[in-house]
């Protein structure tokens, strides 16, 4: 096996690992969003949720999951105006984010 083959195999293994770790990452984001929607958590938690979506948006396509990047980007963009807002999102916004997170989950599962 050449060095190039070794590298390709290593990168393929990392891509598989990324897919494996994606589900629990989405679990954590959904739990965080549900807590925030229920009035628990604070602005730091909201920024953590935003950062989690941002991170997935920034990496999924690199690992061959462009639809996951698009779906995460949609969630991130939705939260952009709320990230440093003085007031938290309302029930309608959380409901919309829940829909976006469901779309993200679906994209991850069908990728």
């Amino acid at each position: 096996m050449s060095d190039a083959d070794d590298l390709a195999a290593a990168l393929a293994a990392l891509a598989i690992e990324y897919r494996t770790k994606l589900a629990p990452r989405l679990d954590a984001l959904e739990v965080l969003a549900a807590a925030l929607a229920g009035g628990q958590g604070d602005s730091d938690d909201l920024r953590e949720l935003h950062r989690g979506l941002h991170t997935i948006a920034g990496s999924a396509k690199t690992f061959g999951l462009p639809t996951v990047t698009d779906a995460a980007r949609a969630g991130e963009a939705f939260l952009d105006p709320w990230r440093d807002a003085a007031t938290p999102p309302g029930a309608a916004e959380w409901a919309e984010l829940k829909t976006l997170l469901a779309a993200l989950r679906k994209a991850a599962e069908s990728a």
């Binding site: 590298l7 920034g58 990496s59 690199t62 690992f63």
Partner: protein, 147 residues
Amino acid sequence: MIEDDESLAAMVGEYLTGFGMTVSTRSTATEGLTLLQQGAQGELSELGKPGKPAGFDGLILDVMLPDIDGFEVLGRIRSHPTANKLPVIMLTAKATREAVLNGLHLGADGYVTKPFDIEALMSAVRTVLGPAEASDWPKGGGSIRND
């Protein structure tokens, strides 16, 4: 490399290592700056180049980090007396005109937009480091340090 997405850092590390580079990864700005500071003080090597921390030829720096903004990290590096010439490639998910100008104003040497094609990042690394540090074909011999 300072990047909080461990999977992405691992992929970049693996790739650059395949080109014979030694890659150190840190997931927070604080950890990364500490490592660079050690290099700037010559703790890692006695072979540091003027304006570069010893042991480092360049830095791949994410913009949105959990503790300190990547632009602020870049500013600190550029104002550091013995690390200010370290080549820095910024990784940003939002390559807005404002963000790019901000990075260039602060002295970024390259910009790569996330999500990136790994070849695009390698191209930026080649451009910034030059052919001496970045060869054209995987050759092995590098290593990933995340100690």
